[in-house]
């Protein structure tokens, strides 16, 4: 549904877009790393992963499944890997998939580890509280950019909690009852102060690009996705008469470059209120 609307330019009901984003799933096959010590054979475990959530928040069943065939002493912190790349639990699942695996066939094949935690590549995830703290920090950072933190600071602690509980329990209505306030802007403006975005590429050293970028130009025109890329990541765009080398992907789709950035921010942000954009090589 999002594909059709955004790639052909036909308007769809904006609320439907919010739901489609929220309920996006990636069929995933978890396999235990071959060098893990088991008491009997470990069967792979299949799961539909929510694109908008975080690995360590939604894989309790995966952990339980594999721990059943292992001895307590062989188990320490769980971590996940795809084709040799440790998966950062603090990146949304949909971002990881788009960036690393979207050109491969489904299901997404993830390897599960319980040993040799890669300290240099991954943050530890000691508890669900750590995920909540990280998530809320991102939400606050996004609002610092959108509203100078005014909206998030005006909310009560219980509203912050509701955002987290909505995400944790996959409750769209519960989440958006609060999140809609973070998507508002003053009547006299045409959008947020700055757009919270991060652009990821596997081909560069830097983890991501994040800069100040206004959704509205000085003349009142709405900036587009193409405007953003031209300004902060020109290498992502095809040269004037050249061949398209990259895909610009959000939630598994390529929005038209003419799409207003303000609209993308309101409808295609992740629950943390950031637009996480992947630049990946055009599949041949």
């Amino acid at each position: 549904p999002i594909c059709t609307a955004l790639t052909t330019g036909r308007m769809t009901d904006d609320k439907d877009v919010l739901r489609d984003v929220w309920f996006g799933r990636i069929p995933t096959c978890f396999t235990l790393y071959q060098d893990e010590i088991t008491e009997r054979e470990a069967e792979p475990y299949y799961l539909l992963l929510p694109r908008v959530s975080y690995l360590t928040l939604v894989t309790d069943k995966v952990k339980k499944h594999f721990q059943k065939v292992m001895r307590q002493e062989d188990i320490s912190e769980i971590w996940f890997e795809y084709e040799g790349t440790p998966l950062k639990w603090h990146y949304p699942i949909g971002l990881l998939f788009d960036l690393l695996a979207s050109s491969s066939a489904l299901p997404w094949n993830i390897i599960v580890h319980f040993k040799s935690f890669p300290e240099k590549d991954l943050l530890h995830c000691p508890s669900k509280d750590a995920i909540e703290a990280h998530f809320m920090s991102c939400v606050k950072e996004a609002d610092a950019l959108k509203h100078k933190s005014q909206v998030i600071n005006e909310m009560q602690k219980k509203d912050h909690k509701q955002l987290w509980m909505g995400l944790q329990n996959d409750r769209f209505d519960q989440f958006w009852a609060i999140n809609r306030k973070l998507m508002e802007y003053p009547a006299e403006e045409n959008g947020f102060r700055y757009i919270p975005f991060r652009i990821y590429q596997t081909t560069t050293e830097r983890p991501f690009i994040q800069k100040l970028f206004r959704p509205v130009a000085a003349d009142g025109q709405l900036h587009t996705l193409g405007d953003l890329l031209k300004e902060v990541c020109p290498s992502a765009l095809a040269p004037e008469d050249g061949e398209k080398k990259n895909q610009v992907m959000i939630h598994g789709i390529e929005p038209m470059l003419e799409t207003p950035l303000q609209w993308l921010s309101e409808h295609l942000s992740y629950p943390d209120n950031f637009l996480h954009i992947s630049i990946i090589p055009q599949p041949t």
Binding site: L123, H134, S137, A144, K211, L212
Partner: protein, 143 residues
């Protein structure tokens, strides 16, 4: 001042402390004469470096929250690719905190960036008057 682009672990050698053990002011001084850091330090005191060039350092101003010890040298030139975790480790060493003690860093007195976040990016988005102000605290100040 360091103009070397060479990266290194936060290598500032701390001189023997002259601060009172336990009593007295909680201010920790980098010593009577601020030692020059090894030329390849990723964090160095003060700065007059112009901003703009992505290879240059950015200015960070560190402010203590609550009863967290105050750093005598508050203004540091930090390489853009230094992470928040790197900065935390540096402050902990400088303040002589034990490894197990936690230290939280906040931007805009509102959010705690991820430990792998680069200070250069934070400076671009949240810097003002040519510097990035960071508040640090031994306990969670702003959630």
């Amino acid at each position: 001042l360091s103009k070397m682009a060479e990266e290194s672990e936060s290598a500032l050698q701390l001189p023997p402390s002259t601060a009172a053990e336990g009593e007295g002011p909680t201010e920790v001084s980098p010593e009577t004469a601020t030692p020059d850091p090894p030329s390849s330090a990723a964090v160095s005191p003060g700065t007059e470096e112009p901003a703009g060039d992505t290879k240059k350092k950015i200015d960070v101003l560190l402010k203590a929250v609550g009863d967290t010890p105050i750093m005598k040298t508050k203004k540091w030139a930090v390489e853009r690719t230094r992470t928040i975790q790197g900065l935390i480790d540096f402050i902990k060493k400088f303040l002589k905190l034990v490894a197990s003690e936690q230290l939280f860093i906040y931007v805009n007195q509102s959010f705690a960036p991820s430990p792998d976040q680069e200070v250069g990016t934070l400076y671009e988005c949240f810097g003002s008057d040519g510097k990035l102000v960071l508040h640090y605290c031994k306990s969670q100040a702003w959630g």
